[in-house]
């Protein structure tokens, strides 16, 4: 972009500073009777969680081993993030609505929780998904045409409802909460759990391995194209708790699945810890598309409150010609520490990472990806768009690693940063490790300030200032938005507008 000015109106900066908490419409609290693990983190906490979930002995052992390991580990400090020390003993590691284990069907789920999801726009009743179509007769026909989404709803530490399970089961797709999968498909879980993100992987992943609560388990059988989008909607509600979900998706040979993940939390003036682990396994010829719209409470304009989001997401392209694609829209959280990665083990496997990370107010994000090329003729593509406003800091951190066996490996990386105002920061930290002379690695990076010239041009044509910013930002992120599933793209676009409201004066 030419004509990039060093300055932007003083009013712009003022308005950013005045960023109001009330713009976060998901910030309400659901008042419901809770069952909490006692505050603190000891082997007994781990036993408490495991017992709540009626887990087999091997899993309890697995957790306890991770816990022992975690006690020896140090919190990483290499990210460009600053926050006061976290007291890991000062949180509840399990929080669930009372009697949650007993929900046999959607009819048992308390009204407060159903209302919560309704308010968030997440359909939990399968028939609701089909509503909005005139006449019952047309419903079935319409259902074939309108895209349907199966939802696993995770409320604090438990999954409260999972839709379309039966219909998916008919084609052999397993879609259920992680806790259920441990009971119903222990062999599958045991075979794959921890094989992509080992329990010793890093401080936060190891913590998760010890105390993980609920999450989603997906298995797509050989040759099956999953007939609908699968999704998990994570909601953190309880005060003084953290969320430690674990998601495991296995796409067997030649299968395909598109999975969406959404997250929100109430506005609380304490910091809530979220340390999730997501593991993806793509076998020969399989494809997994994983999309995230992360909208955890970012804290108020002065940086009070907000979610600390320390997440380990990794996909293993285990089979030849497999493909994993991560698309993320990160607008929430006070702190984001997240590097969805691909291990390109299978020959000719493909890894992709498309990211939009927006920070405003006092938010800090250190996010990116790792593409580990192990197999022959593996390809990866990284498109990262960082937008910083207010007094926030936004860092892209990425690794492209080409191992000796990975002949013909190719990577293309493009990192663009957009600055709004002059009190924010954008940083790009790309690491490249190459052990092959024949690798083709391309890296492009740009940093631009939202230009006053562009804003004035749009305003001269009649577009108001806030809408002009939204228009320019949408232009900036367009190539990533286009990678999102349709329904998510619309949501993401709206979210961008809300996230950047008040970023100009």
């Amino acid at each position: 972009m030419p004509n990039v000015k060093e300055s932007i109106e003083a009013g712009t900066i003022e308005a950013v500073r005045g960023l109001e908490a009330d713009r976060y419409s998901e910030g309400f609290v659901t008042d419901i009777e809770q069952e909490l693990a006692p505050r603190g983190l000891t082997p007994d906490t781990v036993r408490f969680i495991s017992a709540k979930k009626e887990e087999p002995e091997w899993l309890l052992r697995w957790r306890l081993d991770a816990f022992e390991r975690w006690r020896e580990m140090k919190e990483p400090d290499w990210a460009l993030l600053s926050y006061p020390p976290i007291d890991y003993q000062d949180a509840h590691y399990y929080a669930a609505p009372k009697n949650a284990a007993k929900y046999k069907s959607i009819d048992d789920v308390p009204k407060e929780i159903l209302d919560t999801y309704a308010k968030l726009g997440i359909p939990l009743r399968e028939q609701e998904v089909l509503l909005g179509v005139e006449g019952a007769r047309e419903t079935a026909a319409a259902a074939r045409e309108t895209p349907r989404i199966a939802v696993d709803a995770v409320f604090d530490s438990v999954s409260v409802a999972t839709t379309f399970k039966e219909e998916l089961a008919r084609v052999g797709v397993i879609f259920m909460s992680f806790s259920e999968a441990v009971r119903e498909h222990p062999d599958l879980v045991r075979r794959y759990l921890g094989t992509v993100v080992p329990p010793t992987d890093n401080f936060f992943a190891t913590l998760n391995s010890a105390v993980f609560s609920d999450g989603t388990f997906v298995y797509i059988p050989k040759g099956v194209r999953c007939p609908m989008e699968l999704s998990t909607y994570f909601r953190m509600n309880a005060r003084g708790s953290g969320q430690f979900e674990r998601t495991l998706i296995i796409a067997d040979e030649g299968s395909y699945v598109s999975y969406l993940e959404g997250c929100t939390a109430p506005m609380r003036d304490e910091n809530q810890l979220h340390a999730a682990v997501v593991e993806l396994v793509a076998l020969e010829g399989a494809e997994i598309r994983y999309s995230t719209v992360q909208n955890w409470w970012p804290g108020d304009s002065e940086g009070k409150g907000g979610v600390y989001n320390f997440v380990t997401k990794r996909g293993d392209c285990r089979g030849a010609r497999s493909r994993i694609s991560w698309t993320q829209v990160e607008t929430g959280s006070a702190i984001t520490w997240k590097y969805p990665s691909c291990i390109l083990r299978g020959d000719e496997s493909v890894g992709e990472f498309y990211s939009i990370a927006v920070t405003n107010g006092r938010q800090q994000a250190d996010t990116g990806t790792k593409m580990i090329h192990l197999g022959r003729n593996t390809r990866s593509r990284i498109i990262s768009k960082g937008i910083s406003a207010g007094r926030s800091n936004n860092t892209y951190r990425g690794l492209v690693s080409v191992h000796p066996r990975a002949s013909g490996a190719r990577n293309f990386t493009q990192c663009d940063s957009l600055l709004i105002g002059s009190s924010c920061g954008a940083h790009t930290v790309p690491y490249i490790e190459n052990r092959r002379a024949d690798a083709q690695l391309e890296h492009e990076a740009t940093t631009t300030r939202l230009s006053e010239d562009q804003l004035f041009y749009a305003r001269q044509r009649g577009v108001g200032e806030e809408q002009a910013v939204a228009l320019l930002v949408n232009g900036f992120v367009r190539d990533v938005i286009q990678k999102l599933p349709m329904e998510f793209a619309v949501e993401a676009q709206k979210l961008l507008e809300v996230s950047l409201e008040g970023s100009v004066g």
């Binding site: 030419p2 010239d453 041009y457 305003r459 044509r461 009649g462 577009v463 232009g475």
Partner: protein, 254 residues
């Protein structure tokens, strides 16, 4: 329609010293008329256009500017646009990722909304867009591309006029629209501009050269020098400048 009275202005940009840019401009453009503003580089021509459009940093210090009887200088740029002020930029900016039609439709609907009108329907918009693109001999594919990105100088100017025809403003300010246009393009663009001439519209045409005025015939010609109008006359004044240059006139005015 447009009335400027003893307008003084300063340019205040962060990191640069303030400087006076207009030193008392008085000018009346009645509805239905086309006025040309000519003058050497640095005389304040573009400044005047930015000031009227409301560009941040361009501040009136005294005098007044009224458009349709209203104080123009108190309005935000987008409010001026909604009232019908259109500036065809000398250097149109590039907006990556935003297709031309998306941009123009957003502009049109924003203007309509602020006037309390309903949004234009997609078919009506497309129909209008197609007709105007055809009139300006524009490749329709150009309208699907990000605004001005990778466009030639001439294409950018043509696109300004496309937007002007789409938005149908009341006061059109053309800032050196002729630069970057070859002779054929100049004729096509001028035809487009002339099509908007009407008794309830007015136009300010800023140019260095007579050649644009062969196509867009002005009713009055004003010569701007050092932030003041030093001469006004009919179309013959432009011809006189073409043959004698600005120097003689400026020396005479000094």
């Amino acid at each position: 329609m447009l009335e400027l009275k003893d307008l003084h202005a300063r340019l205040t940009l962060e990191g640069a010293p303030d400087r006076a840019i207009l030193n008392g401009v008085t000018l009346t453009v009645p509805a239905g008329e086309v006025h040309a503003i000519m003058g050497p580089n640095g005389s304040g021509k573009s400044t005047l256009s930015y000031l009227l459009a409301g560009r941040p940093g361009y501040q009136a210090t005294s005098g007044s500017a009224r458009f349709l009887g209203e104080d123009l200088l108190s309005l935000e740029p987008e409010a001026r646009a909604a009232k019908g002020v259109f500036l065809s930029f000398q250097y149109p900016v590039e907006i990556p990722g935003v297709p031309v039609m998306t941009f123009v439709r957003a502009a049109m609907n924003a203007q309509r909304a602020s006037r309390g009108e309903a949004e234009i329907s997609a078919p009506d918009f497309l129909k209008k867009s197609r007709a105007i693109a055809e009139r300006l001999r524009m490749d329709p594919d150009m309208l699907k591309r990000p605004l001005n990105v990778g466009f030639s100088g001439g294409e950018k100017k043509r696109l300004e006029i496309y937007q002007m025809l789409m938005l149908e403003p009341r006061l059109m300010i053309l800032d050196e629209t002729d630069s970057g246009l070859d002779i054929d393009a100049l004729r096509i663009v001028s035809e487009g501009v002339n099509a908007l001439r009407s008794p309830d519209r007015a136009m300010l045409v800023i140019t260095h050269y007579q050649r644009l005025l062969d196509h867009i015939r002005p009713d009055r010609v004003h010569v701007l020098s050092a932030g003041r109008i030093i001469a006004s006359g009919g179309p013959e004044l432009a011809l006189q400048l073409e043959s004698e240059g600005y120097d003689a006139l400026i020396a005479g005015a000094g």
